[in-house]
Symmetry: C2
Subunit: 716 residues, 2 copies
């Protein structure tokens, strides 16, 4: 039946098209905006759209009128039933964002999450970043593995000379101004781009915004939403002298930038001249690029295409945005353009915060969604990973372990502001990993270890926000800029302990690392003592690499006073208040440290590896990584010490070093290990595979580890 | 400029309308569906829609053709740029859902979250529930306080006689069939309703679905998506004999039900007759209501309005849905219509699971969003709450406490399947509260307490899913149906300890409750001993109410063997392995229990209240509630014991009862209390307000508590 209808439909469509052209001429003949529409819309929709979309305003008076004369809301509402046609399925959309520093890097991720949540098209992000943001975001996007998302970085450092001559008092610093030079630095092949501030949140499909390019007239080069405050009217306070603008001016938090037209119109020269001219009488820009954009638009109103207000609902301190959103049926983009950000006072702030919090706490891994029917979406490594996962046998008893080992966790390094330690040849970073239930250890750890730390935290996206709050409200933690926190996002049922250790280890920036665990508090003097020992032992210039052993103790009391010296520690040990770590349950773990010898030792002494030895050690930063196959509980450190021994590290016990384990309720993973024979069987299988790999890599030299394993099994 | 354009636009619109009518006749003159379109669309869109929307099929052959002949996808894609006009802003949309039991109640909440996330209209939910679901959902929606959401319950019990005569083998049981009788039981004033299965997830605004009512012809009464499997073709296996259907038939997971037309057409008689006729040759329905709907449609194809496939993407075991979603630009509703639910095997299952998990873990409180510009949205109590919150002074030092006290937490009672204990006059429920970091206590607690428990868990939505997984994978926990878990959703920075206790207490179903804490393990014999004591002491018939004190001990060792008797306990106490609970830090908390006397006691003995006394007690279920003003750490139990004493409860210590506190790392709230003088000051303020209230309620009798407080302060 259907094929029979088609020629008829085609004929009718042609007729309809002709009729619409006639009607269109009648309707819009003298409206330049509609003449110039160049997009290939669906038959029968152009006219309706032209009736319903906000009228494009071609002079300053009309632009200024949008706010007071005809609240956008009503227009937006009428338009809500009828959207402009979206870009074709699978069309690549381009977005540019300037991002610098630790805090903006966190912000931009929430923005990107909101965009990815609603998007249905492939996206190309053009990120202009400083070194800090690049380091963070490169790692993040590499590990995020979002299909149909391309990332390209541009070095903000190189752009600074282009804009640093403009004095600017805005809190975004130089970086805000960089939006002005995007037409010069983005690839020439790129014709159009959406430019976003890091402090916006999407609540709609970005393709709807992209579709508005189709409404530009020939002359229009930049799409902007009117500024939703009286700032540019210059009446906010006495002697307030803003930059020139058309009426209320425009806000540059969301920009549609028609790049090739900008390049053709000589944009660079245009804005440079304008900025120089204004700076003859004004001392600086107050709102960075936005002041310059507005000055240009004031002079050349024909360049701007006003966008509906819902595409940039501005929650600044003096916002008038209510006029927009109370009327609108649908908000598209929220802009937190107050320095107070989410803490801005506004009677509807709760509403907007909820939209933002949605993405702040959203599990980013859920955005690893393919776009059905679009080709070549997979990010590097994703295909191999998919294949490896597909090869796993769900019925196999250790399936959960295999799956967890293959999981690529999203990693957000240096989640909080961090100052790398100054380069010092004997410096040591404390390396550890934790999850939410150990946060309360951090303050004590900071009191015990005054040196740099690199900590991996295994958290959900929501946990990460709680963690941020925790640090911000702790005077002890917020004072420390030498502690780097790296978030590894939760995924899967087993704790990826060694993957976490490797993340923290890889981010340590000193020549040496102290590989510790979060439940241990080091001796107060340990940081200084370790540096002195490294220097004294000339670790950097010895023929063999060395691992310095820090003897480990434990208290079973959850209230106790920490010993200030080795002498005090020995007293507590003799009194039974302290014990050798896990002396009762797992003596072989630390026996080779030779605690009896340590009591009397005055100098470092060498010890030999033995089965199941798992001391806490100080090693050069380039030490072997932990074996990521060990997930959950058990044997994760043992394997690392074997690796050190196989690579012929000398094990030297330090006579004055110690570290004490505090009690805690058993973790869920340990409870599981204890109660499940299947779990223990899988751990056994992992051990055996580890030894096979060891033999492969170290040959006959690895035989002793296998023998030791077999002996310990026959004992068990 | 705008007004000048209007008359011209109107004239053109009229002309356009005329032209479209001509074209429309030419195009669709002989297509009855287009003749009947009765909605008031925007000018210029009807024709395009008619071109682009799925063709309405008027006979069986054509209905079957939709799937193979013309994949919906291409149609959906073309249509994506052009939606039918949405219902007006603030129009109330109606949704009906049948829901029974604990598991469906969890499911329906995820569905509702997905609907609320995208909705922009007020909603009225009509919930047909059994007693279990009603109990759960009434509490949930009352505490959820979502603006612009009306809930009405209908008793499924009353509907059973209407459909119980139909034999049914589908896993939904009788409840699935209840969709058939909705036209009879929903209010007569209700003309149209969307009917949803509990296992669907929205990924779009439900108003877009509602808008499709506008496409119904005069005769059409039910909108359905074609069934996306070969089930009704009857060739899935040998001797597979499905109910009759048009081609592949239709799926009833998502239904647009035009109620008043159904009533006019005599729906009830129609489906009853049809079902009876088919049951002459078929033994039962396999797919519940869906079989009956299809049988009716087979006979009366003019009644059905086929909906685009994206409105019900079916992930059943034999799904052919790929044909739909690979082509479509935008999926609207996912339907988990396999008994395997999220565990269904499908090469794109990961994609769909991610959509579903989005809402499973979504923080429901973020959906407390008002709809700007719509009147009368606030649920009961919300306005008073808003006012109370608005009156708080953000600068006040205890602002966080005040805010936390006022917070209404969403509460999901009996989150997991639960069998209430049989009524027994001396039965005792253990009442406690916990958060995620104490989950590992649950198994041990179950081993120590064999009676009913009512536990409040303070969790995020995401935690709740982890908790579910934890219970499902624990043989100990999943075997216990007498433990009721009540989720109180996290909101705010302070732990609402007494609100949690009150939730657990309110849900206890036995005449007595043992008010414990999650870190305590009761003596193995305690449950039996308490019941015997209650009986012996004739607690139910004494002139004065009694609180039975269970002496509390603690171990500071996190590995220790639990005493099997009072004698063993006393040995451990003498050996220093056990202590009186908090004997060293807070002796006044338990001193009045008179442990020295207890050692020798053979019979229950009475003790007197003293300042700061906070024993663990067994009391009648109707005991006073905990004072919810105490949030975070400190004094929360002390206030409750004062309340018991003020109400003249006798305090009787049981000679054989005991309970032991296990060590754990300090909670974040305690760390905060210890480190912050501001926190302690606020707690002091709360204490004073509590005493003022006490004086108000108990008059001079409350004087002794105030005196005690002042004395203890002057000592401190």
């Amino acid at each position: 039946m259907l094929p029979r209808g088609r020629p008829r439909a085609l004929g009718a469509a042609t007729l309809l098209l002709l009729l619409l052209l006639v009607v269109g001429f009648f309707l819009f003949g003298r409206d330049p905006e509609c003449e110039h529409w160049s997009w290939a819309g669906e038959v029968g929709t152009q006219c309706a759209l032209c009736l319903l979309m906000p009228r494009v305003l071609s002079d300053g008076l009309r632009a200024a009128a949008t706010f007071d004369g005809d609240p956008y809301g009503s227009r937006n509402r009428s338009a809500s039933g009828l959207h402009p046609p979206l870009p074709p399925k699978c069309e690549l959309l381009h977005v540019a964002i300037v991002c610098a520093g630790h805090n903006s890097s966190r912000e931009v991720i929430t923005l990107v999450k909101s965009v990815l949540f609603y998007r249905k098209n492939p996206l190309h992000l053009h990120l202009v970043t400083d070194a800090v943001a690049r380091n963070i975001l490169e790692t993040l996007f590499r590990t995020w593995m979002v299909p149909a998302l391309v990332i390209r970085f541009y070095d903000a450092e190189e752009l600074k000379p282009l804009i640093s001559w403009i004095p600017n008092t805005h809190y975004s610093g130089l970086y805000g101004l960089m939006k002005l030079v995007l037409p010069s630095i983005l690839p020439l092949s790129l014709a159009r781009v959406i430019v976003l501030d890091t402090d916006v949140t999407f609540s709609s499909d970005i393709a709807e915004l992209w579709a508005l390019f189709a409404h530009f007239s020939d002359k229009q080069v930049v799409g902007l939403v009117e500024n939703q405050s009286d700032w540019y009217l210059g009446n906010l306070w006495k002697n307030h002298r803003p930059w020139p603008a058309l009426g209320r001016g425009f806000n540059t938090g969301v920009i549609l930038l028609w790049l090739d037209r900008l390049r053709q119109t000589g944009w660079e020269q245009m804005w440079t001249l304008m900025a120089k001219r204004e700076l003859l009488t004004l001392t600086a820009t107050s709102l960075a690029d936005q002041d310059v954009f507005n000055a240009v638009i004031k002079e050349h109103p024909e360049l701007v295409h006003p966008l509906p207000c819902v595409w940039n609902v501005q929650l600044s301190d003096h916002t008038l945005a209510e006029r927009c959103y109370l009327e609108a049926a649908d908000l598209k983009v929220i802009h937190w353009n107050s320095p107070k950000k989410l803490r801005v006072k506004n009677k509807h702030a709760e509403f907007f915060r909820n939209l933002h919090l949605t993405f702040l706490g959203y599990d980013g891994k859920l955005l690893r969604r393919e776009l059905f029917g679009c080709p070549n979406q997979l990010p590097p490594g994703a295909e191999q990973l998919q294949q490896a996962l597909a090869q796993l046998d769900e019925e196999e008893p250790c399936f959960e372990f295999r799956q967890q080992q293959l999981t690529v966790h999203r990693v957000h390094i240096t989640f909080l502001p961090h100052q790398p330690p100054p380069p010092r040849p004997h410096d040591v970073t404390l390396v550890a990993q934790l999850s939410m239930d150990r946060l309360q250890m951090l303050e004590a750890l900071c009191r015990h270890w005054s040196g740099p730390m690199s900590l991996a935290l295994y958290l959900t996206d929501a946990d990460a926000q709680q963690f941020l709050h925790f640090v911000e409200t702790s005077p002890v933690l917020s004072a420390r800029k030498d502690v780097a926190y790296h978030i590894v996002y939760r995924d899967g049922p087993l704790y990826p302990v060694n993957q976490l250790r490797n993340v923290a280890l890889a981010q340590a920036l000193t020549p040496y690392v102290f590989l510790s665990d979060i439940d241990f508090l080091p001796a107060y003097s340990l940081y200084d003592y370790l540096r002195a020992s490294i220097e004294q032992l000339e670790l950097g210039s010895r023929p063999r690499k060395a691992a310095l052993v820090v003897p480990a103790f434990e208290t079973l009391h959850y209230r106790f006073s920490f010993p200030n010296s080795k002498a005090e520690l020995l007293t507590l040990l003799d009194a039974g208040s302290l014990h050798i770590f896990r002396y009762h349950e797992w003596p072989q773990g630390h026996a080779p440290t030779a605690y009896a010898h340590w009591r009397e030792a005055q100098a470092p002494y060498q010890v030999q590896w033995a089965a199941d030895y798992e001391p806490y050690v100080v090693v050069p930063r380039d030490c072997p990584r932990y074996d990521p196959r060990f997930v959950g509980f058990g044997w994760n450190k043992v394997a690392h010490i074997i690796e050190l021994d196989a690579q012929e590290y000398e094990l030297l016990v330090l006579p004055e070093a110690f570290s004490i384990h505090l009690p805690h309720a058993p973790s869920l993973d340990i409870s599981r290990f204890r109660s499940s024979p299947a779990y223990r069987d899988c751990l056994q299988a992992l051990k055996e595979e580890f030894h096979q790999d060891l033999s492969r890599r170290y040959g006959a030299a690895a035989l002793k580890y296998l023998t030791a394993l077999q002996q310990s099994q026959s004992r068990a």
